[in-house]
Amino acid sequence: MSVQTAMDEAQVDQAQADRASTDQAGTGRHDPAYNFAYLDEQTKRMIRRALLKALAIPGYQVPFASREMPMPYGWGTGGVQVTAACLEPDDVLKVIDQGADDTTNAVSIRKFFQRTAGVAVTEATGEASLIQTRHRIPETPLTEGQILVYQVPIPEPLRFLEPRETETRKMHALEEYGLMHVKLYEDIAHNGAISTAYAYPVKVEGRYVMDPSPIPKFDNPRLESPAIQLFGAGREQRIYALPPYCRVESLDFEDHPFEASKADHDCDLCGCGDSYLDEVIVDDEGGRMFVCSDTDFCATRRALGHAGRLSGEALA
């Protein structure tokens, strides 16, 4: 059972309200030099068509004419374009990178949409109508009506087994995924375990093998979700999607089943025992602490009075 569900809802609301200083209401005005959410309407329509197709064929990579964005390829241009195509003026946007709202690239993308779309922003997972993420799925369970947008560097799960796009598209079309298991077999034969720790491949609705973007495999079980999940790869010009409640299985062997592992610690700040943790080196002697990678989740718990091993110390 997740810790979150054990919390009293009203308490959570209060805790989040206490931390509302991070929220900013929408200005309702965007930079007049650009169209709402930067992209022109034609481009947004083109992206929305790709998104609808992607939702209709879960896990299938839909080619789309990715535009040059004012941030570099590889820094979330795919996610930004998907977000831009989905945003409405009354949306509440949350942006995370590595699970944290205050990492540099998350800050940069959030600012971009505040400026070009004038939407409200929040750090509270539950408050957001649209969340753009890089490398994590929030700990707080998502709900129906929310959209989670992933930034994807390499959308093709077969890419490092077969570099040729013409070949991999054929392999998907013909459902020839034997090679994927050859890789997992080799992992076990040489290392005794499947040695993929992130971007762990999944099979969607029993049909397409999909790269869930470089989330840690700890997050894989949460790919089955009531929320809409959209994946954008700008440089590689691909969009794919998981509709709500879509079946998502992590590839494995019967006798080497998939395992969603994490550091064997509790969070040193909030004491949570089943959240994904960052390991932080705290001194020259290699002293470490473990803290939730999901900063909103951790702060909400602390506001509710949960405490970890080091929460008494003056850390912040």
């Binding site: 298991h181 077999y185 040489h190």
Partner: protein, 256 residues
């Protein structure tokens, strides 16, 4: 008895040049057909057309499928043909590196076909791989080695194991002993003969080496300039060749 494979009027042209012309024959279950001829005679073109690697210009290749009986392979959809290629059919290339994944272990090479048809138990896959390595005389402790580290003969035996692990009903072989030392050839031929008998395999073997067909093939087709010039039981054709070209082939072997 229904033929396993019926070939009818198979023709392939390369521009003005004939690859193979109007080739017809039947292959029955458990039968091994040899196709001989010198290089450029069209035997490899014929094999490629039969195996679906090359699209012929005319003709039919009808295979007796398990599920639906006789089907023309050439009109099958690409997924159907590929499925056939990893279940009922097998293809042994002349150069092992064309038929193996050189970058993954011997075990994975053998296991790939199993995984491609849905095997998902690591222990079982590995057990079968080790068993097959044994059957082609590769020591079990080489299971995690990559084929690069193998000798030419071992690579070829690994390719055979990789092909036979799913129990195919029809095996295509393109000069399976070509490029190997004579002593290695003999051992491989011996092994192949044992496997063909034991598994009751049907096979089509293309070779320029009459010793190979004498040892393995029940029947023989002799090709020259894209056409079949003589066909019959192997012993009959080799001992009493009728066509001038066959006579030349046989005598040139005897001269050696």
């Amino acid at each position: 008895m229904t033929p396993l494979l019926q070939v009818d009027g198979l023709t392939k042209r390369y521009g003005a040049r004939l690859g193979c012309g109007d080739v017809s024959f039947d292959l029955y279950p458990g039968e091994v057909m040899g196709i001989v001829g010198e290089s450029g005679s069209g035997k490899s073109t014929l094999l490629s057309c039969l195996a679906g690697h090359l699209a012929p210009d005319a003709g039919r290749v009808v295979f007796d499928t398990r599920a639906e009986g006789a089907r023309d392979v050439l009109t099958m959809s690409e997924p159907e043909r590929r499925m056939l290629g990893r279940t009922d059919w097998a293809f042994v290339h002349q150069h092992a590196r064309d038929g193996l994944r050189m970058g993954v272990s011997a075990g994975a090479n053998v296991g790939e076909r199993l995984m491609a048809v849905g095997a998902r138990h690591y222990g079982d896959i590995r057990e079968q791989a080790v068993d097959w390595l044994g059957r082609v005389e590769i020591p079990a402790d080489r299971v995690d080695d990559r084929p690069r580290a193998f000798s030419g003969g071992m690579q070829q035996r690994l390719q055979i194991a990789r092909n036979l692990v799913t129990g195919p009903r029809l095996v295509f072989m393109d000069e399976p002993t070509g490029g190997l030392d004579v002593s290695v050839q003999a051992r491989l031929l011996d092994l192949l003969r044992g496997l063909v008998r034991e598994m009751g395999l049907s096979a089509i073997i293309v070779t320029h080496d009459l010793a190979v067909v004498r040892l393995l093939a029940d029947r023989l087709m002799v090709m020259k300039d894209g056409r079949v010039v003589e066909a019959g039981l192997t012993d009959q054709v080799l001992d009493d060749p009728q066509h001038g070209y066959t006579q030349l082939l046989v005598s040139s072997v005897l001269l050696v």
